[in-house]
């Protein structure tokens, strides 16, 4: 027992502030130095999930729902115009809301969210990162967010993976079991974009083919910090919906 108590107090307090900047090497948001872009279109060709389109000003536009941050477009870019910054691509709210995703990480009293995890057909990378949210460095509980065992207790559902045929029914049933109001978060490129493995006999598609998606988190997998941003945005969105439904 003494060893245990010793272990608890051995280190400093480990919990950190949420930081959406990765390490130097991290392949984060894609940027384009347009002056150097020679419009060769090579990036479109090599992108395995067709996440890049060119807009009317000949600038590449990245669809972060699909992007898996593999770096192939950067390697292929003849003019070295495309590059990864080490900033995380932040979650986006897809439904109408006044919540500002960039400002949600401030700890505020009175905010809470109960979340159910739902694996719709993931490779388990997103799930492992969700598991990491409870470790002492991220300590999700301090934000008032906790994972619950049943969708009946949940305000939000956090879905990982592309929806498979074998799980389609379970996805529906989980959503149906939740009380209104409810928030749906699509985590990672599979759930958000659904293009990772292409179209197969076993895949239904991205989550929005099955459920109304409110928030998506880019990444393959997203880092834990991006997931926390999404969860806090979901908490604010949930509050907004509760108020508009009249149950304050």
């Amino acid at each position: 027992m003494l060893k245990l108590i010793e272990a608890i107090f051995a280190g400093r307090i480990q919990t950190e502030d949420i930081d959406t900047v990765g390490s130097k090497q991290f392949r984060g948001e894609l940027n384009c130095n347009t002056a150097q872009c020679d419009k060769c279109g090579e990036c479109l060709q090599v992108c395995p999930v067709s996440a890049i389109t060119i807009n009317e000003y000949n600038r590449p536009i990245i669809d972060y729902k699909r992007c898996v941050f593999c770096g192939r477009c950067v390697d292929a870019c003849a003019g070295c115009a495309l590059y990864h910054s080490n900033l995380e691509a932040l979650p986006e709210i897809l439904t109408g809301s006044s919540v500002d995703v960039g400002r949600v990480t401030n700890i505020r009293p009175g905010r809470s969210l109960h979340v159910r995890h739902l694996d719709a057909g993931s490779c388990n990378a997103c799930d492992f990162e969700m598991g990491a949210l409870s470790n002492p460095l991220y300590d999700l509980h301090r934000f008032g967010v906790s994972f619950v065992a049943s969708p009946r207790h949940a305000d939000a559902v956090m879905v990982t993976g592309v929806v498979t045929r074998n799980l389609e029914k379970a996805v529906h049933m989980t959503y149906e079991a939740m009380e209104e109001p409810k928030v749906v978060i699509a985590v990672g490129a599979c759930a958000a974009g659904g293009a990772t493995y292409g179209e197969t006999y076993a895949i239904v598609g991205a989550l929005d083919k099955v459920l109304p998606v409110d928030i998506f988190v880019p990444g393959c997998p997203p880092r834990p910090s991006a997931m926390i941003v999404a969860l806090l945005a979901a908490a604010d969105l949930y509050l907004e919906r509760s108020k508009s439904m009249g149950n304050k």
């Binding site: 292409g198 197969t200 076993a202």
Partner: protein, 501 residues
């Protein structure tokens, strides 16, 4: 390769298994009708002494009836492989003891065999087939159903316990919920395009899957992988084993609600994941290994990050190990729980931690001696008891071995000149099968690849480490109680994603 007619499969397999001394490593089918040869079933046996894998290929002629004598009565390890082959190809094993569906659940029709070449990759076929769960019937018996959506943050699987009071009489696991049709999805893609998908079969085995796949295709090429690339690949493979084993040690404690070591494990894993990101740009080490080598080097700055992370993790992990070894309440739960006998482990051709904890010494790093492993110094850890504690001990000791290995590798990277990172412009021999293997944190991970004349994937078969170990879980739980299920399950720590594909 030994080629036989379909009727000769059983005999040839029996000979190759060397009276059961050579474990059945994998078994799969291939639709070669497009190549004018009908269907074929491949059996791979591991010859540990010759450091090689023996392949038996049984050929069905174009108009031959797709039936053969089941191998399961000879090798229990063949049971799931044969069920999968029947599901995916419709090749029927006669006298199979349990030919229920395995991969395709209720929403698929009977007679839909997706891996046949004439079925389109995006075939949108719906139906209703029967999917029976095995249960025990009798007076006083009752069933407990769990999943596929669980209470914690884990992958989906359905478990049906048949209970005689507190004791588990029988457990049937319905898996393959995350079946994404990956083996079909990569068909017709180039090696580089397929690599991207292979890397995403499973998160926790990203490196192992990529490494197996790359080795398989590299054998079909004339060019050799630069030494520097192999040194770096080995470093990545050991970093993957480390974060898995360290995290799994902590996770196992969650199975008995022992939160302090659980959190120490989670924190150490996080340190290793951050180290991964600094090395590869991705916390799961994705985007570094490619056919022919690796994409970038581990420079001095990264080496320092790895070295200092290892120092921290080593010190604190030893503290964790000591805590676990001194807590009687914890030891009481893990000792004698979830026992897998050596006989069971060999019958099921188990791999990895699961096999080694039952005294079945298998490690593809030694047995098949790939890459630079033969010149590195490390021990294969075995335990005899086969219980949860034995699997924990194997992991604990393997963490030490992996730390030792990474330090040796860092020394190599430091002292050797950069001999080039990647052999470029690989071309591959067509219509020839090739296997690649690597030792993931869960055991050996085998890929088998065949390319067509246009250098596109004709067939990819993936047998992850979890595949042969899953059938051991119900055996380990015989007579145990349901509250021990999470504990025993976590002690194996099997992937669903790389099983389901």
């Amino acid at each position: 390769m030994i080629k036989v007619k379909s009727t000769g499969l059983r005999g040839a397999a029996n000979v190759c298994s060397h009276n059961g001394r050579n474990p059945l490593t994998a078994m799969f089918a291939c639709d070669e009708t497009v190549l004018g040869q009908g269907y074929a079933i491949y059996c791979l046996f591991e010859d540990c002494h010759a450091h090689d894998i023996q392949v038996v290929r049984a050929q069905f002629e174009m108009d031959e009836e797709l039936k053969y004598e089941s191998l399961t009565p000879l090798f229990p390890a063949a049971a799931w492989y044969e069920r999968e082959i029947f599901d995916m190809f419709g090749i029927e094993p006669l006298n199979h003891p349990d030919l229920r569906p395995l991969v395709l659940h209720e929403s698929y029709p009977e007679g839909f065999y997706p891996l046949r070449k004439k079925v389109a990759v995006d075939a949108n076929i719906h139906g209703e087939r029967e999917f029976k769960i095995a249960t025990a019937q009798g007076e006083g018996l009752f069933e407990v159903a769990v999943g596929p959506i669980h209470a914690g943050i884990i992958e989906p699987g359905h478990f049906r316990f048949s209970q005689a009071g507190e004791a588990i009489l029988q457990l049937d696991a319905k898996l393959f919920y995350t079946h994404r049709g990956i083996e079909k999805a990569v068909e017709g893609k180039t090696v580089d395009e397929a690599l991207f998908i292979v890397e995403r079969i499973c998160g926790a085995c990203s490196i192992a899957n990529t490494l197996s796949f790359c080795q398989a295709v590299e054998k079909l090429s004339e060019k050799s992988v630069p030494r520097r690339a192999w040194v770096i690949r080995t470093c990545l493979a050991e970093l993957e084993r480390l974060y898995n084993h360290v995290g799994d040690t902590g996770n196992l404690c969650a199975g008995v609600g022992f939160t302090v070591p659980n959190n120490i494990g989670a924190r150490l894993k996080e340190l290793l994941m951050r180290c991964n990101e600094q090395v590869a740009g991705n916390r799961f080490l994705r985007g570094m290994i490619v056919p022919g080598g690796v994409l970038f080097d581990i420079d001095e700055e990264k080496r320092n990050v790895i070295a200092s992370t290892l120092d921290t993790v080593e010190k604190e992990y030893e503290r964790l190990v000591q805590i676990l070894s001194e807590q009687d309440g914890f030891l009481n739960r893990v000792k004698n729980t979830g026992i897998v006998l050596k006989k069971t482990a060999t019958d099921l051709s188990m791999v990895g931690v699961g096999a080694r904890a039952s005294g079945f010494s298998r490690d593809s790093r030694k047995d098949l001696a790939y890459g630079i492993y033969p010149e590195l110094s490390f021990d294969v850890i075995t335990e005899q008891a086969g219980d949860v504690y034995a699997r924990l001990l194997v992991r604990e000791k393997e963490v030490r071995e992996s730390i030792k290995l990474v330090r040796q590798i860092l020394e190599l990277i430091n002292s050797e000149d950069n001999s080039g990172l990647r052999a470029a412009d690989l071309t591959y021999r067509a219509e020839e099968g090739s296997w690649g293997i690597s030792e993931s944190a869960r055991g050996s991970d085998l890929h088998w690849v065949m390319l067509d004349k246009n250098q596109k994937i004709y067939r990819l078969f993936v047998r992850s480490a979890s595949y042969p170990n899953w059938p051991a879980l119900p055996v380990a739980l015989h007579g145990e109680i349901i509250p021990d299920f999470p504990l025993v399950n976590k002690s194996f720590e099997l992937c669903y994603a790389c099983l389901d594909r």
